[in-house]
């Protein structure tokens, strides 16, 4: 537990003259859930993509403590190693489940893809694991052979989570996992995520604009504005006693129920 699982140092990315994120540094420890909050356009998703190796940052380093090869610089890895890492030790949950799923094949095939990608060749076992994961994300196992096109939004999101977790990853990146879902479905998915994160000892980097989600799921919070981190700290501390004017504004703008 003495080494951080993921550490970013001075990560920055610009698109032409526009700065998407600047000089972001943090450590993520095993079992920790880190929230990145901020308004639209504040650079949250760009940062997440830089961390997950999907975008190459202009500056800074991202170091990951891998299960197999020790400490690795994510952006210095060969493409083959990085992709292997991404489909074995990492997960990535998109806001839009259609981006993270294969919509043309059944739920079972979606969950089984990572297993087959690392060499599983026994249909019965793959199917058994897929069924097991359907149960763990609370989808009726009867729907195992149905395509995600026939699923509701909430079910698709749960399927996407199962598809990512089947390879037993240590680190999951989530980009607004509950965005675009209605409130009751959101609550169930948050519940599910909280259980999975604790049960599997997952580390999570979670991007959200919803402070309620951040409060429920995350241990620590980074607040971004205009591409820079303006405040970070323990979630309860940041939300209950915001220091930066922008954070104060964010917290104050939560609609009272």
């Amino acid at each position: 537990m003495s080494v951080p699982l993921l550490s970013a140092r001075g990560v920055g990315k610009r698109f032409g003259g526009r700065i998407a994120c600047r000089d972001v540094s943090f450590d993520l420890w095993p079992g920790e859930v880190l929230g990145i909050v901020g308004e639209s356009g504040s650079g949250k998703t760009t940062l997440l993509n830089c961390l997950a190796g999907r975008l190459v940052p202009d500056g800074g380093t991202v170091t990951y403590e891998s299960r197999s090869a020790g400490s690795v610089d994510v952006h210095r890895l060969s493409e083959a190693r990085r992709r292997l890492l991404a489909r074995t030790e990492w997960g990535f949950v998109n806001q839009d489940a259609r981006e993270g799923l294969r919509m043309g094949v059944s739920a079972g095939a979606n969950i089984g893809e990572r297993l087959m990608a690392v060499g599983a060749r026994h249909y019965g076992e793959i199917r058994g694991q897929a069924a097991d994961w359907m149960g763990r994300v609370e989808i009726d196992v009867e729907r195992l052979d149905d395509r995600p096109t026939t699923y509701s939004g909430g079910m698709r999101q749960r399927l996407q989570i199962a598809r990512n977790l089947v390879s037993n990853p240590r680190l999951v990146f989530m980009d607004e996992p509950t965005g675009g879902l209605d409130v009751s479905v959101q609550a169930r998915i948050l519940d599910l995520l909280r259980g999975l994160v604790e049960g599997l000892h997952l580390s999570v980097v979670l991007v959200t604009h919803d402070l309620g989600v951040a409060r429920l799921l995350t241990h620590r919070l980074m607040v971004m504005q205009g591409g820079t981190v303006v405040e970070q700290g323990l979630t309860d501390q940041v939300l209950d006693d915001p220091q930066h004017p922008y954070t104060q504004m964010l917290v104050a703008s939560i609609l009272p129920v």
Binding site: E79, A80, R83, R87, R102, V105, S106, G108, A109, G112, E113, R114, M116, A117, V118, R121, H122, Y123, G124, I126, R127, L144, D145
Partner: protein, 285 residues
């Protein structure tokens, strides 16, 4: 070999170069073939030419044949197993005219066999070359439409998605329902489309003593399986690869071991099963 004079490289009617293509094009195609043989199953791009027949009729196979054919060769052309269909007859006549080669319908006599949709039933031997006409060379195309991505998947041997398609087939049909163009792993490295041959023919590709060349004219790709190279049809441990079987035997030659075509012979729906390989069938009668 001494320098070829212009006379040597000219076809019978003088208007075309020997074997239709010009010498530079043939060299380019031969280079692609050499590379393809050196990296079994890898799709090598080449500068495909316009041929005097439409795409989809065998332009890729014809270009490969034109690049490797010589006066001493004996050519056999089959289409769906038959030597006497329009496409097979036209291509055979084409090479008889522009390359002055002997042609045959007998598998054993041929040195080059250009084929569409079948591998001959008669076992091939050392020194024979099988040229396949390929419509879609990329086995991952239906699963991944982006060419840049499929190339990356091949480069990194990331073939999970191919297995996903087989999983899906079992989930939906209870078995792997793909019967033609059944994907194979060549030499343990590249996944390859064997062209739309029935999966019945897949075992014949494995460690075949003949050289297999695949030409895709529209997609401008050449790939190859050198002699004696392992070719494994993809499957699952608990759903192993199987070939088609028939309860009937050939109505003409009585064969129970060949690939049979089903034919409806009258208006009342009477059915007949006959060998798809006409040369094999005639040889047994």
């Amino acid at each position: 070999m001494p320098d070829a004079t212009i006379q040597d490289t000219q076809g019978q009617d003088g208007a075309y170069n020997y074997a239709y293509l010009d010498e530079q094009t043939k060299r380019m195609i031969r280079r692609a073939i050499l590379k393809a043989v050196a990296v079994p199953g890898y799709q090598v791009p080449f500068g495909g030419r316009e041929m005097p027949l439409p795409y989809g009729w065998g332009t890729g196979g014809i270009q490969v044949t034109a690049a490797i054919i010589g006066r001493e060769d004996t050519l056999k052309v089959i289409d769906q197993g038959a030597d006497d269909t329009t496409n097979a007859v036209s291509i055979r006549r084409f090479f008889a005219r522009v390359a002055q080669v002997a042609t045959t319908t007998h598998t054993e006599e041929a040195t080059i066999i250009q084929t569409r949709h079948r591998v001959p039933e008669t076992p091939l031997t050392d020194g024979q070359i099988l040229v396949f006409q390929v419509p879609i060379p990329e086995p991952l195309r239906m699963l991944e439409p982006r060419e840049t991505e499929t190339r990356t998947l091949h480069a990194l041997s990331e073939y999970g998605v191919m297995q996903v398609s087989l999983y899906e087939s079992i989930a939906r049909h209870g078995r792997i329902a793909k019967t033609y163009n059944y994907p194979v792993m060549v030499n343990g490295r590249y996944i390859m489309s064997p062209s739309p041959i029935p999966k019945f023919d897949n075992p014949k590709l494995d460690r075949s003593p003949a050289l297999q060349l695949y030409g895709a004219g529209r997609e401008k790709r050449i790939y190859a399986v050198p002699p004696h190279t392992p070719v494994k049809s993809l499957d699952f441990d608990d759903h192993p690869f199987e070939v088609e079987t028939w309860s009937e035997s050939c109505a003409l030659c009585g064969s129970t071991e060949s690939f049979l075509d089903e034919m409806i012979v009258d208006d009342t729906g009477k059915r007949l099963f006959v060998c798809s390989d006409t040369d094999y069938c005639e040889g047994r009668r």
